[in-house]
C-alpha cells in the first residue's frame, strides 16, 4: 500500500477512507510519522500516539462491520493545548500547568470524537494564548515551516504548522484577537474564526471570555465545512452558544458572486500594510469583480483604535480569568505548607513575562482611577467598532481586508512596532463577534505565504466560505525542495 498523500484535501482523505482505498490506521500511522519528521518545527507539545492508533483501529473495525461512522471518522485532527482533554495533558504552554490532566473533555473535543476524528496530539501556543508569535510558549519555540528563522504567528502557531506540514488533516485553535487567522496567514493555511456563539467554549481555557472563540485551521477552504458542521450547535454548558440554524453544507447552498457586495477599504485605512500585501488585496478584489461581485468602497473606525481597545479589554478579562492560578485551585502546588500569600506568589512567579505584562496592564486599568478612565474609553471604542461593522454588513455581504500588515516576521530582534501591529486587522471582527476567515493567496518572491481576510455577517459562515473558495490559492508546503527543509 503506497503511503497516503497527507496534504490531500480532507474530503479526498475521507473519500479514500470511505471506499477502503485507505484505512484509518494507515492514515494515522503516516500522520504520526510526519509529526516525527517535522518535529524540528516544534508544532506539537504532546503526541497522542497509542490512543490515536487504537481509536483509528476502532474506526476501521466499525467501518468493516458496515456500521455508521461519523463525518470525520478516521481523520487525524490536532488540538491547541488550551482545549482540555481527559486523555492528554493540558498545559496552555505554561510552566504553571505542567502535567495538568483535566477531569473532562471540552465540548468541541467530545464532538470531534462523536464524529469519529482521531485526535493525534496537542499543539504549541503562546502561554495562555496571549501573543502573536507562539514564542512565549514556556516549553517550545515553534518555527515557521516556510522559513524556520521566522515566527509561525500566534497564538495558535502549533496548529497552523501542523496543518501546513501535513502533520494533521485539520486542527482546532482559539481566536481571541486573531489567534487563528494570523498564524494561518503566516503558515499558508486557512483559518476560520466562527461567529461568537457558534461553537462552544466549554473546556477552552479562558483568556478573554468576551472574545474567545474556538477556530478551525485546514489546508483548503472546503475542508473547514465538515469540521464546522461536526462542532457547531448549542451547548448547555456554554450559555453564549446559540441555536441559530446550523451552517448548511454546500450542495444545498448555491451562491452566485453576482449577488455579493464586497466592502473594500480605502488606501488610507490600510496605512502601514506592506506593498505586496496591498497588491494581493487589490488582485483579490479584481478577481472577485471579474467573477461578478460588486465591490463597493466602505470605511470602518481606525484599526489602531480597535487594537488599543482590544488590548485594554482583553487584559482586564485576563486579569479576572487568570486569578484562578493561585496554587490552590490551579497551578503547581509546590508550597502547600506555606502561608496562602507566599503560595500564591510562588505559583504566579511561574507565569511568563508576556502574561505578567498583560496581567499588570489589566490590574492598572481596573484599580487605578486613571486606568479606569482609559477602560471606559476602550469600552466606547468597542461599541463604536461593533456598531460600525453591523451597520456596514447590512449594506454589504462581506468585507475584504488584510490579515496582517506584514508577512511572517523574524523570530529574533523583531521591532516592537511589528509585534504590536500583528493583530491590527484581526481585532475588528473579534470586537464585533463576527465570523472571519484568513485565506491563503500563494507565496511572495521570498517563498513566504500571502493571505487576505474576509469578514462576514453574524452566523453566515456559509457565504464566507463560498466566497473564500473563489479566492483561495493554496500553498503547497510539500512541494518545497529538500534543501529548504529543516
Amino acid at each position: 500500500m503506497p503511503s497516503p498523500n497527507l496534504t490531500a484535501p480532507l474530503t479526498t482523505l475521507a473519500q479514500a477512507l470511505h471506499t477502503g482505498a485507505l484505512t484509518a490506521h494507515e492514515l494515522t500511522e503516516a500522520t504520526l510519522q510526519q509529526i516525527q519528521a517535522t518535529q524540528p518545527y516544534e508544532a506539537y507539545l504532546y503526541v497522542n500516539r497509542a490512543p490515536a492508533l487504537a481509536w483509528a483501529q476502532q474506526c476501521d473495525a466499525t467501518r468493516a462491520r458496515g456500521a455508521m461512522t461519523g463525518c470525520l471518522a478516521g481523520l487525524p485532527i490536532a488540538l491547541k493545548d488550551n482545549l482540555v482533554t481527559q486523555e492528554m495533558p493540558t498545559t496552555c504552554g505554561s510552566r504553571l500547568l505542567a502535567g495538568y490532566q483535566a477531569p473532562y473533555d471540552a465540548t468541541v473535543v467530545t464532538r470531534l470524537r462523536d464524529a469519529g476524528a482521531v485526535l493525534v496530539g496537542k499543539t504549541a501556543l503562546d502561554e495562555f494564548a496571549m501573543g502573536s508569535t507562539s514564542q512565549s510558549c514556556a516549553t517550545s519555540a515553534p518555527k515557521n515551516p516556510w522559513d524556520a528563522a521566522r515566527v509561525p504567528g500566534g497564538s495558535s502557531g502549533g496548529s497552523a504548522i501542523a496543518v501546513a506540514t501535513g502533520a494533521a488533516a485539520a486542527a482546532l485553535g482559539s481566536d481571541t484577537g486573531g489567534s487563528v487567522r494570523q498564524p494561518a496567514a503566516f503558515c499558508g493555511v486557512v483559518g476560520l474564526k466562527p461567529t461568537y456563539g457558534r461553537l462552544s467554549r466549554f473546556g477552552l481555557v479562558a483568556f478573554a471570555s468576551s472574545f474567545d472563540q474556538v477556530g478551525i485551521l485546514s489546508r483548503y477552504v472546503a475542508d473547514v465545512e465538515p469540521v464546522l458542521l461536526a462542532l457547531a450547535g448549542p451547548d448547555p454548558c456554554d450559555t453564549t452558544t446559540h441555536a441559530a440554524p446550523v451552517f448548511s453544507p454546500s450542495p444545498s447552498f448555491p451562491l452566485h458572486l453576482a449577488d455579493c457586495r464586497i466592502g473594500v477599504l480605502p488606501e488610507a485605512w490600510l496605512q502601514g500594510v506592506e506593498p505586496e500585501l496591498q497588491q494581493t488585496l487589490e488582485r483579490t478584489r479584481e478577481e472577485l469583480a471579474a467573477h461578478g461581485a460588486t465591490c463597493v468602497p466602505v470605511t470602518l473606525p481606525p484599526p489602531r483604535e480597535a487594537l488599543t481597545a482590544y488590548q485594554a479589554l482583553s487584559a482586564v478579562e485576563a486579569m479576572s480569568n487568570l486569578a484562578r492560578y493561585d496554587g490552590l485551585r490551579y497551578g503547581c502546588a509546590k508550597a502547600l505548607t506555606q502561608p496562602f500569600d507566599a503560595r500564591v506568589s510562588q505559583t504566579r512567579a511561574e507565569f511568563g513575562n508576556e502574561a505578567k505584562c498583560r496581567l499588570l496592564w489589566g490590574s492598572f486599568l481596573l484599580t487605578d482611577p486613571a486606568g479606569h478612565e482609559l477602560l471606559c474609553r476602550a469600552r466606547a471604542v468597542w461599541r463604536q467598532v461593533h456598531d460600525a461593522y453591523r451597520t456596514l454588513l447590512a449594506e454589504v455581504t462581506l468585507v475584504l481586508l488584510p490579515v496582517t500588515p506584514s508577512v511572517a516576521f523574524p523570530r529574533l530582534d523583531t521591532p516592537p512596532d511589528t509585534l504590536a501591529n500583528a493583530d491590527l486587522f484581526t481585532v475588528g471582527a473579534s470586537l464585533a463577534g463576527l465570523p472571519a476567515i484568513s485565506v491563503p493567496r500563494g507565496l511572495n518572491a521570498q517563498g513566504l505565504p500571502l493571505a487576505v481576510q474576509l469578514v462576514g455577517r453574524t452566523f453566515d459562515e456559509a457565504t464566507l466560505l463560498r466566497v473564500a473558495q473563489h479566492v483561495e490559492q493554496p500553498c503547497h508546503w510539500s512541494e518545497r525542495s529538500a534543501a529548504e527543509l529543516l
Binding site: Y196, T240, D341, V344, C357, L374, R379, A380, R383, P416
Partner: protein
Amino acid sequence: MAHTPPTRAALEQLLARNRLGIDPTELETLAQTFNRWLADAAALPNARGDAPATCPLPVADRPDLPCQPNSRSTYLAAAPLTFRDWFAVQRR
C-alpha cells in the same frame, strides 16, 4: 485626567500587589511595553459608552439556565470584584 507613566517604584508596587514577581533585569522591558500601551490608550477618543452584549443574538430562549451572561458590561464590572474578593476571603 493626565496619563503619565507610572514610576518604576509604582510598577514594582503593582507587581507586588498582584503577587507577580519579575526578574529585575526584565522590569525595563515590561515597563516599556506597559508605557506603550498606556500611551496608546491615552490617545483613544475621550468618549463613553456601554460595551455591547456578549452574545450577538439574545439568549432569552434558554430560561432553564440560572444565569444569562449576555452583558459584557456586567461581566467586566464583576471581573475585578472576583479577583479582589478572592484575596479578601483568603485573608479573613
